[in-house]
């Protein structure tokens, strides 16, 4: 299996605070990987470092064998690493379709283009097709600020996929989505991504979601990796149970059929 991303001894400190330390993660092509950890465990710091938003204090980030440590966010995006956000980062006063069109326009022009119209019929068609893939085409003409959180999340994720990334980070994709809808939300989301061969790393607090949708799981605790391996093994790890999950290990409705839907 081809390795898409490899981090070596990644570290990030803010003054005396160690936000991430000795982070070694390998992600393979097409893999779905869940990341768990309490707030402040270093999950988002890790994503921020890989995507260029934060520069690591130490360590190395290799993307397909190429060192991308400290590169600008936009350059990393252009290489094929994209992300969505815990709080959707959209263009709130614009309609959904405009958000997608902007994302598509940027994805298709890596050099500044002036005096040539950005949008044509094929781009508009492509934008609607993308919205259909995420089952949100009915919201195309609505302004972002008028939409419920779940739809905003999907728009945020859809925008992250327009460049057809090799590696996609989803930062708490189900936060803000009602408990009843979380499973369907993730199922639809991963089904929409399935055809793209994109490796997906998603940060999640809901253990049912992690168990149901990610064959592999990484647990973060106080800026370090506590465990990395098959999801069920990680979730049963004593230290993970004690420091990450606590005594409330959810198993309930997690089932194999959901997993089959992804694989």
């Amino acid at each position: 299996m081809t390795t898409v991303l490899e981090t070596k001894n990644l570290e990030k400190t803010f003054g005396a605070v160690v936000a991430a330390s000795d982070i070694n993660i390998t992600i393979n092509e097409g893999e779905v990987l869940g990341v768990i950890g309490s707030n402040g465990a270093g999950k988002t710091t890790f994503v921020n470092m890989v995507t260029g938003h934060l520069t690591p204090t130490a360590g190395q980030i290799l993307y397909r064998g190429r060192d991308i440590t400290g590169k600008a966010t936009r350059d990393i995006t252009r290489m094929g690493i994209c992300r969505s956000f815990q709080i959707p980062q959209l263009f709130p006063e614009l309609p959904v379709i405009d958000n997608i069109l902007i994302a598509l326009t940027i994805a298709k022009h890596d050099k500044p283009v002036i005096f040539r119209p950005a949008i044509d019929r094929s781009l508009a068609t492509e934008a609607h097709a993308l919205l259909s893939r995420f089952a949100i085409d009915q919201y195309a003409d609505q302004e972002i600020q008028t939409l419920p959180q779940g739809v905003r999340k999907l728009v945020d994720i859809a925008m992250a996929t327009v460049a057809e990334p090799d590696l996609l980070f989803l930062d708490e994709p189900t936060s803000g989505v009602s408990a009843d809808e979380k499973m369907d939300f993730m199922r639809n989301l991963l089904a929409a991504l399935k055809s793209t061969k994109t490796a997906v790393l998603f940060i999640e607090h809901d253990m049912e979601i992690v168990e149901a949708f990610s064959p592999r799981c990484v647990a973060f605790y106080e800026g370090t990796i506590l465990a990395d391996g098959p999801t069920r093994n990680v979730l049963q790890n004593d230290k993970v149970r004690e420091f990450v999950i606590g005594s409330e290990l959810h198993r309930g409705s997690a089932n194999d059929s959901a997993l089959e839907g992804v694989n």
Binding site: T51, A72, T73, R74, T77, R78, C82, R83, Q89, L90, F91, P92, E93, L94, P95, I97, D98, L101, I102, A103, T105, I106, A107, K108, H109, D110, P112, V113, I114, F115, R116, P117, A118, I119, D120, R121, S122, L123, A124, T125, A127, H128, A140, D141, M159, A160, V162, A163
Partner: protein, 327 residues
């Protein structure tokens, strides 16, 4: 397939012969205002394209002045009077300055950008007012323009300059309309809304802002050259903060929805000022202030919103999304 010209461009194309035909219809004093408005309208357009990226330039008078003084100095020092050369010189000088300053300004947003642009323009104001060789506060006169060696006189000279103003101004407005519809124009809209996301989509906000700043500078300098030639004089007031504020006033009054808006807004403001001075010579500014206040309260997107269609166009590719490309 995208049409070659959109509705705005067709309107501007149609406006060229219409405005030229006005030579035979309108009285000279109105034509003068049209001509002056077109010159300053270009500067308002420069302010407007920056506003689309969420940046308010309180120092656009800098490039208005750079254009005017470049043309004036080219005439004084090198005896250049050809209008095409003067415009070219104005553009080149403004591009060099804006390219350099752009590296600093592109890092700032909101009030910091506004104040920095103001500061730079006031530095030029200070230099010009204290330089005797450049006429100090009085400025200096420009020679009559020639057109590829042709020197018209009398009424012909007035008409030639009027036509030489109408055609480039409307052509530039068309180009700017195209620019706003281009990928960089779209990125500017996105920057105004969420710069972080723009970077995460793979685009450089700094680069887009730098390009827009230079574009606005070039356009404003052309406005400065044309305005200076129509007045026949330049002075440091061109880069004073009151002049820059005037351009911001026009942009807010007219709105940023369409490139035609600042051109109409400039003419409207000129005429309004004439009537305001006539009506109340000592307190005419209060009338302008009231108009501004009413515009902000009742037309927060400017007067152009009166013309804008409420309903969004269907998104089949023939029409641009209303919000990101104007109406």
């Amino acid at each position: 397939m995208t049409r070659f010209f959109d509705k705005t461009e067709l309107a501007l194309l149609a406006g060229m012969p219409l405005l030229i035909a006005m030579l035979f219809v309108l009285p000279q004093w109105v034509l003068n205002y049209v001509q002056v408005s077109l010159g300053t309208g270009l500067v308002a357009l420069g302010v407007m394209i920056q506003m689309r990226a969420g940046l308010v330039s309180f120092g656009q008078g800098l490039y208005f002045c750079v254009g005017g003084y470049s043309a004036g100095l080219a005439g004084r020092m090198f005896n250049i009077s050809d209008i095409f050369l003067l415009v070219l010189i104005g553009v080149l000088v403004s591009l060099v300055i804006s390219f350099t300053l752009g590296f600093l300004l592109r890092r700032y947003r909101d009030i910091f950008f506004a104040m920095l642009t103001l500061a730079v323009s006031m530095i030029l104001f200070g230099i010009l007012t204290s330089t005797e060789e450049l006429g100090s506060t009085d400025g200096f006169n420009l020679p009559a323009p020639t057109y590829l060696g042709w020197l018209p006189e009398g009424e012909m000279a007035r008409n030639a300059l009027y036509i030489a103003t109408v055609i480039p101004v409307l052509t530039i407005a068309m180009l700017l309309n195209r620019y706003l519809r281009s990928p960089v124009g779209f990125v500017n809209e996105a920057i105004r809304e969420n710069e972080l996301r723009v970077e995460y989509l793979g685009s450089s906000a700094h680069q887009s802002i730098h390009i827009t700043y230079m574009m606005a500078a070039a356009v404003s300098s052309i406005g400065g050259v044309l305005w200076a030639l129509s007045i026949g004089h330049v002075d440091p007031e061109m880069t004073n903060w009151t002049t820059s504020g005037h351009f911001v006033f026009i942009s807010i009054l007219s709105g940023t929805g369409n490139v035609i808006a600042p051109l109409l807004g400039t003419f409207f403001l000129e005429i309004l000022r004439v009537f305001a001075v006539d009506l109340s010579p000592n307190t005419w500014q209060a009338i302008l202030g009231t108009v501004m206040l009413l515009t902000i309260v009742f037309l927060p997107k400017g007067m152009w919103s009166l013309f804008a269609r409420k309903k969004r166009q269907t998104r089949d590719g023939d029409d641009l999304p209303q919000n990101i490309a104007g109406e």
